[in-house]
């Protein structure tokens, strides 16, 4: 076992896992039960998709718009699997487990170990994936129980902490002018649509903006 890989995996797992507190609290603030909040972390296990489910439902959206928004956010995990498949070559039950922990962080750490060889990459994938799974689920429970104890979400700023967490998720992705323009356009479009269509629809509609921006754009 490579020490550098193990330490990268552990620090990523713990740091990312801590965000689970924000998710657990967001679930309760959006009206999900403790069980429903924890099941999202155990089963959906993809941060942005989970936040989208509680965000859309919390804003009064339908299950369909919550599922569609979360699923669009989950498409990138397919691409990660595609990238990792030739490296991991998983079969049977191992493929099921490996697929479930194919997320931003496990992929990131695995690809980050390429200088250390394929064994280190595989190690990075499993250690980070399992590590994030454990910490993320543990801290989801902590956040959810904490939020339940607090009562009114607004009195504790939870209703602002949730969009702040989204902003924190999207911020590092805004690396060029096209991406920043897209982010601002999506915000405006969603707000302009809000009074006129069912809750949840304004959010999923902005996926069309992403298609329009990505269709012709050259970075």
């Amino acid at each position: 076992m490579k020490r550098a890989t193990a330490s990268a995996s552990l620090s990523v797992s713990f740091t990312v896992g801590l965000y689970g507190i924000a998710f657990g609290a967001a679930g309760i603030a959006a009206g999900f039960s403790l069980l429903q909040t924890c099941l999202l972390s155990l089963l959906t296990f993809s941060g942005a998709s989970q936040f989208a489910v509680v965000g859309v439902m919390g804003a009064g959206g339908s299950a369909i718009s919550a599922i569609s928004t979360a699923s669009l956010l989950g498409v990138r995990n397919s691409l990660y699997g595609l990238r990792l498949a030739p490296l991991l070559k998983l079969k049977g039950l191992k493929r099921v487990v490996g697929a479930q922990i194919t997320i931003d962080e496990s992929t990131g750490v695995a690809l980050g170990q390429s200088d250390l060889g394929e064994d280190a990459m595989r190690q990075g994938f499993w250690l980070t994936g399992i590590g994030v799974y454990i910490f993320w689920n543990f801290f989801t429970v902590v956040g959810a129980l904490g939020a339940q104890a607090m009562g009114d979400p607004a009195a504790w700023g939870l209703d602002a902490a949730v969009p702040a967490a989204f902003l924190g998720l999207v911020w590092p992705r805004l690396t060029n002018k096209l991406e920043r323009t897209l982010a601002l356009s999506a915000m405006l479009l969603a707000l302009v649509m809000t009074p006129f269509v069912a809750a949840g629809v304004p959010i999923i509609s902005t996926a069309l903006l992403a298609v329009a921006f990505g269709w012709k754009a050259r970075r």
Binding site: G55, V56, S78, A99, G157, L167, A210, F213
Partner: protein, 103 residues
């Protein structure tokens, strides 16, 4: 079954299917550059829209309330390259303070 349960189970089933799919298809089917580019832009659009809607709406009404100070603090914290917990906690503190002053 309640809407929330449908959302939890539906989102989880599709999330897993998407992950499993990636490990199971030949690479050549999905490396179209346009599709890859759109795929990196979709999270930006959806997450930005969520930020806006959760900050400035109540169901289907646009509102400006205590949350705006929380969002201002989050934005400043991000511009100053603060770590994620500082962004979230700072935003919560500012919003909670404003809420308590206003109510």
């Amino acid at each position: 079954m309640s809407e929330i349960w449908i959302a939890v189970i539906g989102a989880s089933a599709i999330a897993f299917a998407l992950k499993y799919f990636g490990h199971s298809v030949p690479e050549k089917y999905l490396n179209n550059p346009r599709a890859l580019r759109i795929n990196t832009l979709i999270p930006i659009a959806l997450l930005s829209a969520l930020v806006a809607v959760q900050s400035f709406s109540e169901k289907t009404t646009l509102v400006i309330d205590h949350r705006i100070t929380g969002m201002a603090v989050a934005l400043i914290a991000l511009i100053l390259k603060a770590p994620f917990p500082v962004v979230v906690l700072g935003s919560a503190a500012a919003s909670a303070l404003t809420f308590r002053i206003m109510n």
